[in-house]
Symmetry: C2
Subunit: 182 residues, 2 copies
């Protein structure tokens, strides 16, 4: 946004945190600031991208070409934030071949998942399948060598080996808001 220098207080304000918290958080990874001056925004940004593993683009494979899967395939800002959907798969023959991601890709056959992950180098899997298929599909992703999975099915996934799952359960967010209505 054109800002060249920023203080911990200013960053903290933006996020609703304390200045001390920001400094502690940043200092955990190194000394990025300049005493008496603040942080240089472009260099801080570059450093954090490196530290957080966001320096280069992560290829994603989306499993499930239903409404959620196809919506994600064209989610805005994915590319500018260093993620790229490299494949969308489904088991429904009627969906295979359909254009997705604004026509950049076509839905592929989920039975070829292994080959697709191998050829695209996909690093992160996205589960956009019905709850009853989620555990199975997770295990199939795990079998391809993928190390991280974002799960949108409203179900608890039993993790295997070292394949981390992050579940985004819409219902839990709604329930949090419902509590606030009381």
């Amino acid at each position: 946004m054109g800002v060249e220098r920023i203080s911990s207080r200013q960053v903290a304000e933006r996020f609703g945190l304390s200045a001390a918290q920001m400094r502690k958080d940043l200092a955990r990874f190194g000394e990025f600031g300049i005493r008496g001056v603040g942080y240089d925004v472009p260099s801080l940004r570059k450093t954090l991208e490196r530290v957080l593993g966001l320096a280069d683009t992560h290829p994603l494979v989306i499993v499930g070409a239903g409404r959620i899967g196809t919506a994600l395939a064209r989610f805005p800002d994915l590319e500018s934030r260093n993620f790229r959907v490299v494949a969308v798969v489904d088991i429904d023959p009627a969906r295979i071949g359909e254009p997705v991601a604004d026509g950049r890709l076509r839905v592929q056959d989920a039975s070829a998942l292994d080959a697709i992950v191998a050829s695209t180098g996909a690093e992160i899997g996205v589960l956009a399948v019905p709850a009853e298929a989620a555990q199975d599909n997770y295990e199939q992703l795990a079998a391809t060598g993928i190390r991280a999975v974002l799960n949108f099915a409203p179900v608890q996934i039993q993790e295997v080996n070292d394949v981390r799952v992050k579940t985004v359960d819409l219902l839990i967010f709604l329930e949090e808001l419902a509590f606030y209505l009381l």
Copy 2:
């Protein structure tokens, strides 16, 4: 699932927490268990639904009938978890009148938001609009008297008054997973 009695240890296992944590959490709201026995599942469930404000159905209004909005309108298990989409609105004339939520509803004109919220009694708003429209639409929702908003736009909403926002930012989930890939 037919289970009548459960111990704190069993619940904890299910969620990957400690038994002591479960007991502390539950005991915060009252004494729901029976010493030496455990918790009666049906009565615990009923009590928690009441305590958490999930005893009766919460009407939702979805703002934005794009892919995310329409996907949410037919999200599975909403009804069984006591949420119900009562309206979907959009500003695009081409979308107004289209059937959504498996044909149960039709997209309505966003300019009638006030009347729609009033007539449906919607309690929670869901923002499924582009990032640049999110703040505006949030304020419009706030103006209708809605008290809680779930925001899917990848943008920080500036809260007004007492209208709580919960932002679900897909990119942040992906970034967390990317860190795990290091």
